[in-house]
């Protein structure tokens, strides 16, 4: 399931709903991303997340379908926020449910790596020097590329 929204989410309620009623699920792995108050040496007072409505949902759906084709997953969830956020706010939740832990760990890792390089979101941070667009990191591209080698967990 994909949710792109400005409002906050309740991690406990979302994870409970993800596995509710499916007793084949043996484990759920989740990743929660937060707004940091520091970028390099500079203090960040607030952040705005811009996105491309339509393409964002399409890309997240593609990424989710790729994970489901690669690992035996009972359920997946991606929630990503947009709009104005402050340090400490939740930005993203990725969760994967599977019969066994290895598939859920790997799929969760895969989803957040791909999301960071493929999903059309852009962060603008507000610092003492003014607003600035966050630049993409080479390490994020490297993290996503490691999944190009097909080694699914069984």
């Amino acid at each position: 399931m994909i949710k792109v929204q400005s409002q906050d989410f309740d991690i406990g309620a979302e994870l409970a709903a993800l596995s509710h009623g499916d007793t084949t699920i043996g484990g759920v792995t989740s990743f929660v991303g937060y707004v940091r108050d520091l970028a390099g040496d500079e203090s960040v007072s607030a952040m705005t997340l811009e996105h491309y409505p339509g393409m964002t949902e399409k890309m997240l759906g593609d990424i989710e379908a790729r994970a489901q084709a690669r690992w035996p997953l009972a359920a997946t969830l991606i929630i990503h926020r947009y709009g104005d956020l402050k340090p400490g706010d939740r930005i993203v939740l990725v969760a994967c449910a599977s019969a066994h832990r290895q598939a859920s760990f790997e799929a969760c890792n895969f989803l957040i790596d791909w999301l960071k390089t493929e999903a059309p979101f852009w962060k603008q941070e507000r610092t003492a020097a003014g607003p600035r667009w966050v630049e993409s990191r080479a390490t994020d591209a490297t993290a996503a590329q490691r999944w190009q080698t097909p080694k699914p967990a069984k």
Partner: protein, 83 residues
Amino acid sequence: MKLLYFAWLRTRTGLGEEEIALPQDVRTVRDLVDWLRQRGPGFSAAFENMKVVRAAVNQSYVQLDHPVSEGDEIAFFPPVTGG
């Protein structure tokens, strides 16, 4: 065709979106970028370095040699920084 600009491409061009008629002799995304650059300093600054610009046609990532046609939704934006 509909053109969309995000993040610093939006601030440099001064536009979030616009409707234009397919310009004559524009066949590919690269042709369109060359045409857009001629429109003024904001546009030439936005498309100065294509290594930091990604393009999407009808909400799918494409390379610069991808064809464009009337009715397409074409978006330009920097490498993504979500998550």
